[in-house]
């Protein structure tokens, strides 16, 4: 299996404060990878550095064997990466329907796996709220919309930052199911979440960040064996 | 009181220098007058800066109060009799406060661009009222023939007909104004003013009536704006509706942004630099608009937080 995403020794700073201290990891095609860590350890920063929302001081990001360094965010996303940000990124002046339609685009191979109807079928709750503005939705509905919107771009790599935050158990389960489906369809995912029990089952590969450094990296088997160590990193 | 390094530096350089200025200028009537005008404008701009920069209430109708300061005097004072300056200062402050209370009650129901526009609308109405009026000189303006005297308990402090005296009155006013605003910002009231600007929703949820704080600030700033207009009217004894025009509000806004929004002392800086450039270019070339415009554009691009911000970053680097 070849590497889909290669992240090499990222160093990212906010002004003077050095947050990432050489983060490196790989994501293989079709893999689901979890990124865990306590609050403020640099998970979101890592994601934003990969996407080019933040400019790392040094380090490389390669996606599908191409260098992403120096490319603007939109060009990176165009190579079929999708992002569900922490805080959901709703547009206050667009309706639910418009949120989905505006994002719609086939992937680089010009396939359309996710279209408007499929997204609505996946999140029936949204169906009822099509005319509402994004910010008028309940928290969970917003989360679904954010995922749906990301799927509309037919990504090869889906990056989820705390995607199940604020979701009811039943819906959370639905989301995990969706992620499974997505994974089964060959889309890779990078998931930031705190629910280690679930991640253990869904993801093939796990990364734990502590203070901007990768403290653990391994598959679910390794995670199981080193459970205690990992949990101490996570403060469980 | 003046905690910020740049601010301290500015205050320590500006005010002593301003004190000496009439002596340095050999009491040249024009220059002293010109500087006094700048000081008056600084008061006006500072009151706007407080409103825009510290309270987040952007208005394009501040000239309403500037003009009101002038016209109130014209309306209240007898035409050929010297009145007492301090009593009329009180009148101007009191009446403009009442007006501001009413106006604020209306305009503060809206926010953002809508507030900008509704303040503009009210100021324009007032502008046209005086512009079309026959009793207040209409478009051509009115003269104030007799300047007030300034005695307190028989002690005559300033002779307003003397430019140097008038200059010191303006300087004193400006200094007090800055002090007053600093006091406010340092106070417990100021804390809530800051809070309201940054997150009104949160502040409401914490149990503050945001509207009251905004209204109080609006009244304070408007009254001081009116005071500036009152001084301006007295300086040459000429009041014209153009004091009320939106261009007056707009220019003040430009000065306060240029100076560095919300820094208060930046208002003085902004006024000084804007007027200085205006003066310089105007005497340099008839097409002064061109260099002036280009320089303004360059300054916006170069200074993230206005001149005050630039000053601060300079001091930061040296540290």
């Amino acid at each position: 299996m070849s590497n889909l995403l290669e992240v090499r020794s990222l160093h990212t700073l906010y002004g003077d404060s050095h947050v990432l201290h050489g983060v490196s990891f790989d994501i293989k095609k079709g893999q689901a990878v979890s990124l865990m860590g306590r609050n403020g350890m640099g998970k979101t920063t890592t994601l934003k550095s990969i996407l080019g929302v933040l400019t790392p001081r040094s380090g490389q990001v390669r996606f599908q064997d191409q260098d992403l360094d120096g490319l603007p965010t939109w060009q990176r996303m165009r190579r079929d990466i999708a992002y569900v940000p922490e805080g959901r990124g709703m547009f206050h002046n667009l309706s639910v329907k418009e949120h989905l339609l505006m994002a719609a685009r086939p992937n680089q191979r010009r396939e359309v796996l996710w279209d408007y109807d499929r997204v609505l079928a996946t999140f029936p709750r949204l169906q009822e709220r099509l005319g509402n503005l994004g910010t008028q939705l309940s928290g969970g509905e917003q989360q679904m919309l954010a995922i749906g919107r990301a799927l509309m771009t037919n990504p090869d790599l889906l990056i989820l930052d705390e995607a199940t935050e604020g979701l009811a158990p039943l819906i959370r389960k639905e989301i995990w199911d969706v992620i499974r489906t997505i994974k089964a369809s060959g889309v890779s995912t990078l998931i930031v979440d705190k629910n280690i029990q679930v991640l253990e089952k869904i993801c093939d590969h796990h990364i734990v960040l502590v203070k901007g450094r990768v403290m653990f990296e391994g598959d679910s088997q390794q995670l199981l064996t080193q459970r205690d160590e990992v949990e101490s990193h996570l403060g469980v | 009181m003046f905690t910020n390094r740049a601010e301290k530096l500015f205050v320590w350089v500006f005010f002593p220098l301003a004190l000496l200025m009439p002596l340095l200028l050999d009491q040249n009537t024009y220059y002293v007058n010109k500087l006094a005008t700048i000081l008056i404008l600084s008061i006006f701009v500072m009151s706007l800066d407080y409103l825009v920069g510290r309270c987040g209430l952007v208005t394009l109708g501040h000239a309403l109060f500037y003009g009101m300061g002038g016209y109130l005097f014209v309306m209240l004072a007898p035409e050929y009799e010297a009145v007492n300056f301090w009593i009329y200062t009180f009148y101007v402050l009191a009446i403009s406060s009442v007006v501001a209370l009413i106006v604020g009650f209306i305009v503060l129901r809206t926010s953002g661009i809508y507030m900008i526009m509704i303040t503009l609308a009210l100021a324009q109405m007032c502008f046209y009222f005086f512009s079309d009026s026959t009793e207040f000189g209409g478009n051509d303006g009115v003269f104030i023939y007799v300047k007030p005297e300034t005695s307190v308990f028989g002690l005559n402090l300033f002779d307003l007909d003397n430019p140097t005296h008038f200059y010191y009155l303006c300087l004193l006013s400006l200094f007090n104004c800055l002090l007053f605003f600093k006091l406010i910002m340092r106070s417990k009231f100021g804390r809530i003013v800051d809070a309201v600007q940054e997150n009104p929703e949160r502040t409401t949820a914490l149990g503050y009536n945001v509207f009251h704080f905004r209204l109080a600030s609006y009244v304070i700033a408007s009254a001081l704006g009116a005071y500036a207009g009152y001084l301006f009217a007295l300086q040459y004894g000429f009041v014209n509706p153009s004091m009320l025009s939106w261009q007056t509000s707009g220019t003040a806004l430009v000065m306060s942004i240029l100076g560095g929004l919300g820094t208060l002392y930046g208002a003085i800086l902004g006024t000084l630099v804007y007027e200085g450039l205006h003066y310089g270019f105007e005497h340099l070339t008839e097409n002064w608009l061109l260099p002036m415009g280009v320089l303004i554009i360059l300054m916006v691009l170069a200074f993230r937080h206005g001149l005050a911000g630039y000053l601060e970053s300079l001091l930061e680097k040296r540290k």
């Binding site: 306590r38 009811a168 819906i171 996570l234 403060g235 | 340092r186 009231f189 804390r191 949820a205 704080f213």
Partner: protein
């Protein structure tokens, strides 16, 4: 169970958004020194309920009683003055102020003197103490002087609670305080809420079931704006309707 005083009460409370019944005919009772959990699927109207209870929205119909007095038509800021404090679902703090200042703003409401333009904001010891205490309680004391925008998301959530605590409320309305928090911090909040509920009436909306089950004295389940059940945790947990509508069957990952 219902031995403590009734603090907050809703009677047939309704909130409609156009045709949507976000909240329909809800009658609940919240008691002092109890933690009242509210759960329900997304969009069930939980946040709407909290928004009504703290005056952000005004109800379409129905009444809200605080210690027997109808308060549904008073001004939003007066809710807080009556001691109804609220934490938001979306983090809602003063981003450019320090953590301490965030809490000071809140504490000053109680100390008073907010229209005093002559008193320095830093002069009052009592006020600072109250703010520090609030930070202490949520475990943010070490971040006292950090600017709020620069602390992590989880910490911001903690700060949010601290801010509410600094107003010294008697009713605490919390909307998903644990969302986005790590285990350790969540644990901290759970502990905190445990202590707090000995003094306050707390209304907690949360999707973290472990926390809700552990903390709630009473638990209400809402579905689509309607009241489903209010009972003790054990009763609710085993209710088949709740399983169907909210919890789902068994483990999260099938």
């Amino acid at each position: 169970m219902s031995d403590t005083e009734l603090v907050l009460e809703t009677e047939a409370l309704c909130k409609y958004w156009g045709g949507l019944k976000a909240l329909d005919d809800l009658s609940l009772q919240f008691r002092d020194r109890q933690l009242h959990g509210i759960v329900g699927p997304n969009g069930a109207g939980k946040s709407t309920l909290l928004n009504l209870l703290c005056g952000t929205y005004s109800p379409t119909r129905g009444r809200i009683l605080h210690k027997g007095e109808a308060i549904e038509s008073i001004k939003p800021y007066e809710f807080s003055r009556r001691g109804i404090g609220r934490g938001f679902q979306k983090t809602n703090i003063y981003p450019s102020a320090t953590c301490l200042e965030n809490c000071s703003i809140a504490a000053q409401r109680r100390v008073g003197g907010s229209f005093n333009i002559f008193r320095s904001r830093h002069s009052e010891k009592l006020l600072t103490e109250m703010a520090e205490q609030a930070l202490e309680k949520v475990g943010l004391a070490h971040r006292r002087d950090a600017v709020a925008s620069r602390i992590s998301y989880g910490e911001q959530r903690q700060l949010e609670i601290a801010t509410v605590l600094a107003t010294a409320p008697c009713v605490l309305l919390l909307d998903e305080p644990m969302a986005g928090m790590g285990h350790e911090e969540s644990q901290l909040i759970i502990q905190l809420l445990k202590t707090l509920k000995q003094d306050y009436c707390i209304v907690l909306v949360e999707h973290d079931m472990d926390a809700v089950f552990e903390l709630s004295d009473q638990l209400t389940v809402m579905v689509d704006g309607q009241h489903l059940i209010t009972d003790t945790v054990d009763q609710v947990r085993d209710d088949p309707r709740v399983k169907e509508a909210y919890l789902g069957q068994g483990d999260e990952v099938i």
